[in-house]
Each structure stands twice: as structure tokens, then as C-alpha cells.
């Protein structure tokens, strides 16, 4: 790829992910996080919480799985055994006081796992996923504050879905991916590296965890994959749909939390292509502009053969010290 387009892409897409994770300009009202046991979404949720704290946004966590209120969450709504309608009411009630004091405050709603809601046996027949999700985003009453709410929904890809009651309705995952304005699929960096290494040698890519289909193996993730001890962090595969309808696809790397301070404002996410482990630099930068040494062809016999060399800055040549 030409260097110009890469730097172009870098600027644009880093700005995009920064905007998405920091909820700026309500860039993505509904973000879908597709995770698996091999790479849970927890670190990314932490990153959302960290940024929300920096920008002083109000965070509501709708907890189907989480038992304790995590740090950085302003309103904790346990969704255990509750119907969709009740959850919606509770979220509204929890947000009300915050909205009353500061209506322009951004509002982040995180659903820690949507699977229980989709697979519940008790689902009332009136439950409609699109209207449930959009009810959070669009305030129903006109008097409600017009603060931009963003919804971040985690979906565990490896939890099988129960067959739908109505065979003609689309699968919940299809509905979710259709509705979402951004979809972030999470991968373990170590696995991505292992798969790339195999691909580079034209080998079949290795699989991990449940995909191994080995008796008794649920998780294959391990920090100690051979030779990749430093391969920490998670890989985000982003698909963002712009308002215009044009999609953006990009792969990012989110470093582990310990690598940066919780107060850091500068973007921590990098492009996956920029990572030296994923894309090892082929040669040092200095050589990039250099050419083969030119040889003086000479005018006649006996002449020429000298190497022509234009001295550059980096040669640090001192006329007085080194005489040719």
C-alpha cells in the first residue's frame, strides 16, 4: 500500500475510533460488541467506562450477568428476572435525577449481555427487540431531555440461540447486526498473531477454545502462547456504518489497561497494521530513500568506476576534519 493512503487511513480511522469510544457527536447510537470466551468484551467495556469518566458522561449498566456495580457506573440496573418493559422503566427512573440536573450530559447505556434477554423462556409475546432497543435511544415523551444517548450492547457469539418461537422471524443476531450502527468484533491479539503466522506460511490457521471441538475444552486462551509473550491487548474489528450508508472497515489494537494511565486523554488505540508484531517493519526507515550507489561510467578507458556519492545530512561530514 502506498504510504500516502496508509497515513490517510490512519488519520481518519483513528479519529473515528476515538469518536466512537468517547461517544462524541453521537457517532454511533447503537454499538454492538460481538465477543466470545476467547476474548470477552470486559476490557473494552472498561475502556468505555474510563472514557465516560473523563468526559463526565452518565453511565447506566443494565446487568444481566454482572452482580456488583463496577467502578465508574452511575446507575446499576439488575435485569435478573425482569421483563423488558420493567427494565426500561427502571433505566428511565435511574437516569431521571441526573438528567434533571444537567440535561446536556451525555448518557451511555451498557447492556452487559443481551443473550439472556433473547433466549429467555419467559419472553412475553409482545417483546420486540428493535423497539426495546430504540426505546432507550428515542425518548418517548417530548418533554424528555434530548440528550444523546448511546447504547452499547454485548452479544456472546458462542452461546447458542434457542430456536425462535416464530420460524419466520429472523434470528436475533441478524436483527442486531442489521440495527447496529457500529459492530465491533473482539479478537485476542495472541490468536490473531498465531493465525497470521500460519497464513504467512500457507498453513491452515489454528483454532482455539470451543472451535477446537475437543472434549472438555471450553477455553483455549492462554497468555503463554509460544513466542508471543508480549502479545497483550485485544484486537477490535470495526464495522461502522456512516449516515451516508458507506461502511468503514478497520482493525485496531487496544493495549492492556496497565500500559496507560487512567487519566490519559491521548488516543491509546492504534491500527493493527501499525503494530510491529503484526506487521514487522521490513527494513529500517533510513534506507527507504536511498538508492544503489551509482558508479561513474567514465569518459574513456581507464577512467570511471568511482562510486558517486552525494553526501547527506546524516553523514555528518566535517570539511576540515576529514579531507578526501
Amino acid at each position: 500500500m502506498a504510504p500516502v493512503t496508509l497515513s490517510h487511513r490512519r488519520t481518519h480511522n483513528l479519529l473515528l475510533i476515538s469518536k466512537l469510544l468517547s461517544l462524541r457527536d453521537s457517532a454511533s447510537p447503537l454499538t454492538l460488541l460481538l465477543d466470545s470466551l476467547e476474548q470477552p468484551a470486559t476490557p473494552l467495556i472498561q475502556e468505555y467506562l474510563r472514557r465516560a469518566k473523563l468526559s463526565k458522561a452518565h453511565v447506566t449498566l443494565i446487568a444481566f450477568e454482572t452482580l456488583k456495580q463496577p467502578e465508574g457506573v452511575d446507575a446499576f440496573v439488575s435485569a435478573r428476572r425482569k421483563s423488558a418493559g420493567d427494565i426500561f422503566k427502571e433505566v428511565g427512573a435511574a437516569y431521571q435525577p441526573a438528567a434533571a440536573t444537567n440535561p446536556s450530559r451525555r448518557h451511555l447505556i451498557i447492556i452487559d449481555s443481551i443473550n439472556p434477554l433473547l433466549n429467555s423462556k419467559r419472553a412475553d409475546p409482545g417483546f420486540h427487540l428493535p423497539s426495546f432497543l430504540s426505546s432507550f435511544l428515542a425518548p418517548t415523551s417530548p418533554s424528555a431531555p434530548k440528550a444523546g444517548a448511546s447504547l452499547v450492547v454485548t452479544y456472546h457469539q458462542d452461546v447458542p440461540e434457542t430456536p425462535p418461537q416464530n420460524p419466520y422471524s429472523p434470528a436475533p443476531l441478524s436483527v442486531l447486526t442489521y440495527l447496529a450502527t457500529s459492530i465491533i468484533t473482539l479478537h485476542s491479539f495472541a490468536h490473531i498473531l498465531a493465525q497470521k503466522a500460519a497464513r504467512d506460511r500457507s498453513l491452515a490457521a489454528p483454532v482455539f477454545g470451543l472451535d477446537e471441538e475437543q472434549d472438555g475444552v471450553l477455553l483455549g486462551r492462554s497468555d503463554k502462547l509460544v513466542g508471543t509473550r508480549t502479545a497483550e491487548g485485544i484486537v477490535l474489528e470495526l464495522e461502522h456504518r456512516r449516515k451516508s450508508g458507506r461502511g468503514v472497515l478497520e482493525w485496531y489494537l487496544l493495549p492492556p489497561e496497565s500500559r496507560y494511565s487512567p487519566q490519559q486523554v491521548k488516543e491509546v488505540v492504534t491500527l493493527l497494521d501499525d503494530n510491529p508484531l503484526y506487521n514487522p517493519p521490513t527494513e529500517p526507515d533510513r534506507d527507504a530513500g536511498d538508492e544503489e550507489p551509482a558508479i561513474d561510467q567514465g569518459d574513456g578507458p581507464g577512467e570511471g568506476g568511482r562510486i558517486l556519492y552525494d553526501m547527506g545530512e546524516e553523514d555528518d561530514f566535517d570539511e576540515e576534519e576529514d579531507e578526501i
Binding site: P40, N119, K121, P160, T162, L219, D223
Partner: protein
């Protein structure tokens, strides 16, 4: 072969420290059962408190936190656990007497409709209907009656009721499943929570309570969708700091995806959803499996310790992931070692 210490040194850190409201998942397969691991959990939690009662400060190994255990078993009887624990030098009956330990029997009377007088107050007797009369002439079960009293009774009351006797001693409660759907699970939960509360009532400040549930997936298999109990309903049920054992045989996990156009049978789907869903919540997942290369004389299986989806990034070095071999000796002792070591 030399006898082994009851707690394999390699595993001690994983067996004895649990953060508040964390879930530890133990998955086993048919060829590599998790009983020995459950016993080690019991030992790690109970032996310290036993020793600190007799000789105070005998061991500095376990951070000095005392633990109480509530143990719910769905597929194995009290007799089994008592005998096996004895081989480890753990007297469960005595510990139950001292209220360090409470055993909840989910096996013997789970589907045995109890007498009307025993009905859990919270549950409407809708599912009971006309059955109680037929049950009355049978021998009375001592476990259930004292359980209704506020006192942590059955150990003290067990002798006074005439029948079964010794084997019943130490069983805090027997679970009964009736009704359908969440109401049935709620009733079970209520029973378990009441025992937990009894334990908690007699707890000192610095004591921790550990709940161990052995194979609750039985409920999924035994009830099924017609009862309105699915993976989601089951998973909602576990809201305590818990060690949970589940089966993870590949038919139960990998048949869930629809292959060849055939929809997967409900039990496979539900079981896979249950197990994987819980692994997403668990802080750590201990997976037992066979040796890939086949049977060996001196290896019983492989234990993989991984962080689950509920592991929080806050505790950076709290849990090291490992893949180790184990061998169960004839005397019940277990040796745990890394690959290539012996």
C-alpha cells in the same frame, strides 16, 4: 507410591482464595470427573478452619481466612461425599455438627412430592394438586420437618425422629422440585438460601462463606423446556460466591449448532448455552479433560485453568493460567504436575 498431601501444592492458590461474589466453574467430562477437585475445594476451605479451632495458628499458609461451606449436590449422595472426604481426613459429619459445613441433598428426594405440610410457604401449591394424600402413609422424612424451624436443626433433630438414622445425620436440607418454570427454581433457591442464612447467622466477622453446587445441570437434563426451565432461567439462579461443577462433554457442547439443516435437540442447546453462558460470568474456569494422546498409566487427565469472562482486569496477577496433568492414585491421593515433570 508415596502418599500425597491432601492439597496439591500447584493447585493451592486456585483452591483457597475467592474474591467476594466470584464464580469458579469446574467443567468435567465423563472420563475425567471432577469429584476429586470438589473434594479439594472442600478440604481447602474446611481443614483450615478445623485446625484453627483445635490448634490456633497452626498454618500460616491459607491467609488465616476461615471459611464455611454450603454444599449442594445433585447427582451424588451424602454417603458418597462423606466417605470420600474421610479419605482426605475430613470428617464432614463432625463439621456439620459444628456448623462449619452444611450439606444440601438435591438427589434423594428431588422429584419426590413432599407431604402437604412441608410445602414451601412461598410457592402456591398449583403444581401439587391432589398428590399429597397418596404420600402420607410412607415413612416420614426427618430432613424436611426440622428444616422448617428456624434452628439449624436436622443434626440435632435427626436423632429424635425415629427412622433412617445415621446416614441422614448431617444433611441440612433435602431439595424438592415441584411446580414449573421459575417458580420451581425459586423454591429451590429459597431452600438453599435459608441454609446459607442459617450458616451466616453463626458466622464470625472474618469468616467467608463458600457455596459449592455440584452438577446443577441435572435440572436442565431432567426437566427440559416443557417445564419452562431453560439455560437462562438456570443461570439467573446462581447469585452467590460459588464453585460450580458442570459437564462439558462434547456432545453437550458442540451439537448445539445446527448442522446439516437439522435443528439441534433442546437439551444440547440448553446445556451448551448454560455452560458457556456461565463460563462468561466465571472468574476462573477449571477444565478437566483426557490426555489427547490416549490413556497413560501414570496420568489420569489434564486440568486447564483459565480466566473466565468474568475475570476483571483489575486483579492483574491474581490468577495465572495453567495447563497441568494430574494423576489419581489408588489411595485417593492426587498428584498434580506440569508436563514433562514427574
Amino acid at each position: 507410591m508415596p502418599s500425597q498431601p491432601p492439597l496439591p501444592p500447584l493447585l493451592t492458590p486456585y483452591l483457597s482464595t475467592f474474591p467476594q461474589s466470584s464464580l469458579t466453574l469446574v467443567t468435567s467430562i465423563l472420563d475425567a470427573t471432577g469429584n476429586w477437585l470438589v473434594l479439594r475445594f472442600l478440604h481447602a476451605a474446611l481443614s483450615t478452619s478445623a485446625s484453627s479451632n483445635t490448634a490456633f495458628g497452626a498454618e500460616g499458609l491459607h491467609n488465616g481466612t476461615k471459611k464455611k461451606v454450603v454444599f449442594v449436590s445433585f447427582v451424588r449422595s451424602w454417603e458418597f461425599w462423606r466417605t470420600e472426604a474421610k479419605r482426605l481426613g475430613l470428617d464432614l459429619a463432625r463439621l456439620a455438627d459444628k456448623q462449619q459445613f452444611a450439606f444440601i441433598d438435591g438427589l434423594s428426594e428431588l422429584f419426590y412430592t413432599p407431604q402437604a405440610a412441608h410445602a414451601t410457604p412461598g410457592v402456591s401449591p398449583a403444581g401439587l394438586g391432589s398428590t399429597p394424600r397418596a404420600i402420607l402413609p410412607l415413612r416420614s422424612q426427618p430432613g424436611a420437618v426440622p428444616g422448617r424451624l428456624p434452628a439449624p436443626a436436622s443434626t440435632t433433630e435427626g436423632g429424635s425422629t425415629a427412622t433412617p438414622g445415621q446416614a441422614e445425620l448431617g444433611i441440612a436440607r433435602k431439595l424438592h422440585l415441584y411446580g414449573r418454570g421459575t417458580a420451581a427454581l425459586d423454591a429451590l433457591e429459597k431452600d438453599i438460601v435459608s441454609v446459607i442464612d442459617q450458616q451466616r447467622a453463626s458466622m464470625a466477622e472474618d469468616e467467608e462463606l463458600l457455596l459449592i453446587v455440584d452438577q446443577p445441570d441435572l435440572l436442565l437434563a431432567a426437566t427440559g423446556p416443557s417445564m419452562g426451565i431453560g439455560a437462562t432461567e438456570m443461570a439467573e439462579w446462581h447469585v452467590h460466591a460459588t464453585v460450580l461443577t458442570l459437564a462439558a462433554d462434547s456432545p453437550l457442547i458442540h451439537n448445539a449448532s445446527t448442522s446439516g439443516g437439522h435443528p439441534a435437540p433442546p437439551i444440547e442447546t440448553e446445556h451448551a448455552a448454560f455452560t458457556i453462558g456461565l463460563a462468561h460470568r466465571a472468574r476462573s474456569v477449571l477444565q478437566l479433560r483426557n490426555l489427547e494422546t490416549g490413556a497413560a498409566r501414570d496420568v489420569s487427565g489434564v486440568l486447564r485453568i483459565s480466566r473466565g469472562g468474568g475475570w476483571s482486569t483489575g486483579e492483574e496477577d491474581g490468577l495465572e493460567e495453567k495447563d497441568v496433568l494430574y494423576f489419581i492414585q489408588r489411595d485417593g491421593g492426587v498428584r498434580v504436575f506440569g508436563r514433562g515433570e514427574s
